[in-house]
């Protein structure tokens, strides 16, 4: 028997109705996802203007692509997968610095205790500022893991990478965040 994906039956039926051109169904779907999609792309692109543009692109894409929704993944995974790639496209279009799209540097081998303390002792504002300095891909996996609470397989489907890469990417994202917080702390001490 095929596995039953029972978290998303209504969204699936809404998508079928959207595919048939049902605007009321689209509005229901839109209202359910607008904030989630907007916050996700905003976290990735770090710019209100770009976030509005990318979120709008995502919703238009949902409308246009609903007939092609294959049902292989949950609707939420499908929508956030579109959001992920639209956000990356938006960043590319904005001709941001190419380094912005690169993953962070490899993990350092020195003791991690000062870094760990960096996160635990950092304020919300400091963490928010540090998030802005790491790559969009790292911000994306941190958001999917810690804010939206997705499982490894769902994150892999959204960002389009193997399961092992998800673990590695979250690991490096945490390290990058720690490094950013340590660097910010050192700069504060110097100044």
């Amino acid at each position: 028997m095929q596995p039953v994906d029972d978290e998303s039956g209504l969204e699936r039926s809404l998508l079928r109705r959207i595919a048939a051109g049902d605007r009321a169904a689209f509005e229901s779907f839109f209202r359910a996802y607008e904030r989630r999609v907007y916050r996700y792309v905003a976290r990735m692109v770090s710019d209100d203007g770009l976030a509005n543009e990318a979120a709008s692109d995502v919703m238009v894409e949902v409308w246009n692509s609903a007939p092609r929704y294959a049902g292989r993944s949950k609707p939420s995974t499908w929508v956030l997968g579109i959001a992920h790639h639209k956000a990356l496209d938006c960043l590319r279009r904005a001709r941001r610095d190419a380094a912005l799209l690169h993953l962070a540097e490899p993990p350092r081998t020195e003791s991690e205790d000062p870094e760990r303390r960096a996160i635990e002792s950092s304020t919300r504002a400091e963490i928010e500022a540090a998030l802005e300095t790491i790559s969009p891909e790292h911000r994306a996996v941190l958001h999917l893991t810690f804010v939206l609470g997705y499982a490894q397989a769902e994150i892999a489907a959204i960002v389009g990478c193997p399961l092992g890469t998800v673990k590695t990417r979250v690991y490096h994202a945490k390290r990058a965040l720690r490094n950013a917080l340590v660097t910010a702390g050192l700069q504060r001490e110097v100044s």
Binding site: E7, S13, A32, N52, N64, R72, T77, G81, H84, V147
Partner: protein
């Protein structure tokens, strides 16, 4: 499991999305590794901070919806070009798959053109049949079953989703499709139960369902009929079609359909689950802020009971949705013919007659003994009656 492996799994341990065995392994290891406990505390702090950031994060602008509706314009969804990488990737199609499809499409497109060019360049080229040239080039579309026809659930919202949106989602459940768990039963008389069972098996597979129960009663003696009971689980949207197909397998002796409306239960369970998850997040936040060990232990206890409640409710909700997604059909099969009675030989008949005579003799003996005992039991009454008869007879006969 070592420290590095555990560290890579901790984020999902924290979000409770790991399978139970993995979670238990991590819990065992956590109790022995101080470094991991520190790592977990750090992740909890990070998670709580993210929750705070998200709670106060900017919402999309009020013009967002109007902007999107203006962009999509009137009418049905515009069929965009099939090869949209963003959508392909989100549909789980790998990049190499798209490349391979592009190469195949190129070959398919260029083969007729190439043949046309060859035909134009030389007089001795075999002409291409018209039908072949006119065949449309179409991208293969994978046939995928619609497994979740009437599967309903509420739209899961984010923590900060407005109450209005939630009520809309709940309304959507009632206004569009009810969450109905359907059960059907059908009784059939078939020419051959064994072949009917095979056909039901094939039918179930073709409808993307499963046989969940089978009781096959072959006749134990001559003259009995072969019967069987099969229980099927099929996607709800295939319920009606499956029942109709089953009815075609033989003569229908009975048919019934019952429906249970689970809409309210599912919506209610979803709301309770959301509240419990918010409560869990709040408790995690409180735990991170608590200084005293007694406070931490108290919050941990509350957290454990909240998580237990979440798991129970989650399991209940999943079970209800499974019942909505998959309808159950019970099929009772009876063979229209009985097992033929075998004709016994003369020896067997004589032996049977002898055994029957012995059985009768034994039965008569038992009956005789039983009646004798009855007489013995009633002997005092018989004796009194006999004496009375004797005395009366002697008196009257003596006088006469």
């Amino acid at each position: 499991m070592n420290h590095a492996e555990l560290e890579s799994e901790l984020p999902w341990y924290l979000s409770a999305t790991l399978p139970a065995p993995q979670r238990e392994r991590i819990e065992t290891f956590l109790s022995t590794c101080n470094g991991c406990t520190g790592e977990l505390a750090e992740l909890r702090a990070l998670s709580a901070t993210f929750a705070e950031i998200e709670a106060s994060a900017a919402a999309p602008s009020s013009a967002f919806f109007e902007d999107v509706m203006r962009r999509i314009g009137p009418g049905a969804p515009a069929r965009k070009p099939w090869l949209d990488l963003a959508v392909l990737r989100s549909n789980g199609i790998k990049r190499w798959g798209a490349v391979a499809a592009a190469i195949v499409a190129t070959f398919v497109l260029f083969a007729p053109i190439s043949r046309e060019l060859q035909r134009a360049s030389g007089p001795d080229v075999v002409p291409v049949p018209l039908a072949e040239r006119a065949a449309p080039v179409q991208a293969p579309i994978a046939k995928r079953p619609v497994l979740f026809g009437a599967l309903n659930s509420s739209i899961s919202g984010t923590a900060a989703q407005s109450a209005g949106t939630e009520s809309k989602a709940a309304d959507a459940v009632s206004a569009t499709q009810r969450a109905l768990a359907r059960t059907g039963a059908i009784g059939l008389i078939v020419p051959d139960v064994a072949s009917a069972l095979e056909r039901i098996q094939r039918l179930t597979q073709s409808e993307f369902g499963a046989v969940t129960g089978l009781e096959d009663n072959a006749p134990a003696r001559a003259g009995g009929a072969h019967t069987a009971q099969v229980t099927l689980s099929v996607p709800d949207d295939r319920f009606g079609a499956t029942l109709e197909t089953l009815a075609g397998l033989g003569g229908v002796t009975s048919r019934s359909v019952t429906t249970e409306d689970l809409t309210d239960s599912i919506v209610d369970a979803d709301a309770r689950l959301r509240n419990l998850r918010h409560e869990e997040t709040d408790l995690l936040r409180i735990m991170d802020r608590s200084g005293k060990i007694a406070d931490v232990l108290d919050v941990e206890q509350q957290l454990a009971s909240t998580r237990e409640a979440i798991e129970q409710l989650d399991a209940q909700t999943k079970s209800m949705r499974r019942r909505v997604a998959y309808a159950t059909i019970t099929v009772d099969l009876s063979d229209e013919k009985t097992t033929p009675v075998a004709v016994a030989g003369p020896g067997t008949q004589i032996a049977d007659a002898w055994r029957a005579a012995l059985r009768t003799l034994w039965g008569f003996t038992i009956w005789l003994v039983a009646k004798s005992l009855l007489l013995v039991a009633f002997a005092p009454y018989v004796a009194v009656l006999a004496l009375a008869a004797y005395l009366i007879r002697r008196r009257f006969l003596g006088r006469g």
